[in-house]
Amino acid sequence: MTVTAPAAPTSLSSTGATVELEAVEKHYGAHRALAGLSLRVEPGEFVSLLGPSGCGKTTALRALAGLEAIDAGSIRIDGADVASTPVNKRDIGMVFQQYSLFPHMTVRQNVAFGLEMRRVPAAARRERVIDALDMVHLADFADRYPHQLSGGQQQRVALARALVTRPRVLLLDEPLSALDAKVRVSLRDEIRRIQSDLGITTVFVTHDQEEALAVSDRIAVMNAGDIEQIGTPEELYRSPSSAFTADFVGQSNRLRGDLRGGDVFVYGFRVPALDAAAADGPVIAFVRPEDVAFAAEGVTGTVVASSFLGSIRRTTVRLDDDTVVTVQHEVGDRRVAGDAVAVRLLGAPVAVAPLT
């Protein structure tokens, strides 16, 4: 069934702002949560902060929101330094990981709250609340209380509440993590649609790479309080600049090889290294499962397991030297545990890390 998404109501149309974080530092005691983080988000851009737990992505978002004071650096929105501006004066919209609707207020009252704070006249307030609820398809639920809504509906109301004030920046702090898989995908797509319609600058924190890859204009991969790499989803996936990014974004086989003159030799196959400046010597090569294929001749091994993933299949092979390799292949090519197979590398460029 084809679903036509409604255009953003004019009362909610927004002009995105530029967001800049420059050399931002934040410490919790001896722990350095943000280590000189710098990031620039262009107007209307959707940027995800992606990283493992404890990498500082939520701290960065909370610093941008004004919920955490920073120790050093600057935070600018449209060029104005807001580092010392309290959260209620920053003109941002935020959706939280936890359900954050006010339980004693109806959906309508929740969405109207931000407008009341801005002293929007009652008539305009009513109109904008309905527009916002229409946008998330929940206008019929205006008089319900949060406890009468499902988790997905609550987060959609929270999104409407965050957007109804026409904030300069929308901050999303893992808003989908408490939802079940199907609702998560649906709401993820809805957030992206609404963000595109409104053109609002958005920073999205997630630890789910699939989410980040699916919705972002750019992704900032974070590690130890700083950005490891920032780029489009395709750039991060195909050209990771570090072993960390290659390992964290998407699935990779970690294979031992020798780097010589910008090429890596893995099991006798020659593949170009993404980092041409890397020093020659033994390395770990990060090879994507789709860059490995079954072949009549190649490195031999035995199938351990095979998983059906809808449009593709992934098969785990234990090579004769006990190295485990995952091969992505067509669904029709069925392999079962115990099959003797041979695999080869397809030669796509790979990220490398020195073997320590």
Binding site: P86, V87, F96, P103, L138, S150, R161, S186
Partner: protein, 309 residues
């Protein structure tokens, strides 16, 4: 896309059997129907039968009711003959007895004033302390809890020994009126007031709601008034009611610190007119009972709301 997409809605819910709670049917026993549209799941297969439950309730009810009924009957008794009369009740309003009963009314007035001040202490000291601890210093929650619970672990008679020198100073600063007792009773009431507020704080995600309100442009005052207090209302109400019942039941402190309150006045009047003392005692018990019922109903309503979610 359907407007209801995203999962279940309360609107689609209807009365029906309560779903079994995981871990509550270890015995694997069948669900026991207990009423129209509901199912009672035996807890660990050891839930009492209806008859057993009824017997337990009747016995416990009698234990509580017999003294109260006897007290009530006593207030209507005419001498030792056993006949009943309203004379003791009408005597309270008789101007001729005003001087006799004046200590009771004075004591009642003092106790009500103490209750008001003790409630103010709860609202102005304990509540902000608990809210600030929950929002800004969550690690101090255990410390605050310990401090607030300590008074219940020390017998009041022992506490009085500590209070006596303190009240020598209090008397120099504030005088020796009965209302000064509210400082001590405020401490005695801490454990009772702390718990319901703590439960209300635990039931809501105070930090996230505050941050959400702040991100929407609310000042801290607005956050407190519009978001936090409405969600803590039931806990605060329960804390205030429990404080009032503590005040109305407190005798030891007033007696040892030589203040006239409702309870000490009753003891005084009882020596001359036991019927009137019994009438006021009964009134105080009924008042306390009503407060506890109200607290219970508030708690039940909250539980019902949560279950409907």
């Amino acid at each position: 896309m359907s407007a209801a997409a995203g999962g279940r809605t309360a609107g689609s819910r209807r009365p029906g059997p309560t779903p079994p709670v995981p871990g509550r049917r270890a015995s694997g026993g069948p669900a026991v129907p207990v009423g129209r549209g509901t199912t009672r799941v035996p807890r660990f297969g050891a839930a009492p039968s209806r008859v057993t439950a009824a017997i337990v309730l009747v016995v416990i009810g009698l234990v509580f009711a017999v003294p109260l009924v006897a007290l009530a009957q006593f207030t209507f008794r005419q001498g030792t003959e056993g006949s009943l009369t309203l004379a003791h009740y009408t005597a309270i309003a008789d101007p001729l007895n005003a001087a006799t009963y004046q200590p009771v009314f004075d004591g009642l007035g003092a106790s009500l004033l103490i209750a008001v001040i003790a409630v103010a202490i709860v609202l102005l000291v304990l509540l902000p302390a608990q809210v600030i601890t929950a929002l800004r210093y969550p690690r101090l929650r255990r410390v605050l809890e310990f401090v607030c619970i300590v008074p219940i672990t020390v017998p009041v008679v022992v506490l009085v020994v500590g209070f006596i020198p303190v009240y020598q100073v209090v008397a120099q600063v504030f005088g020796s009126d009965a209302w000064t007792l509210s400082f001590a009773i405020g401490i005695i009431a801490l454990p009772f007031a702390f718990r319901p507020i703590a439960a209300a704080i635990t039931a809501m995600d105070m930090a996230v709601l505050s941050e959400a309100a702040r991100s929407l442009g609310a000042s801290w005052w607005t956050v407190t008034w519009r978001v936090l207090l409405p969600n803590l209302r039931r806990g605060i109400t329960a804390a205030c009611f429990l404080t009032i019942t503590v005040v109305l039941g407190e005798y030891t402190l007033a007696s040892f610190l030589s203040r006239t309150t409702f309870q000490t006045a009753l003891v005084l009047v009882q020596q001359t007119d036991p019927y009137v003392a019994a009438i006021f005692s009964l009134g105080a018990l009924v008042f306390g009972f009503v407060l506890l019922v109200v607290i219970g109903r508030i708690g039940a309503r909250r539980t019902g709301e949560k279950e409907s979610a």
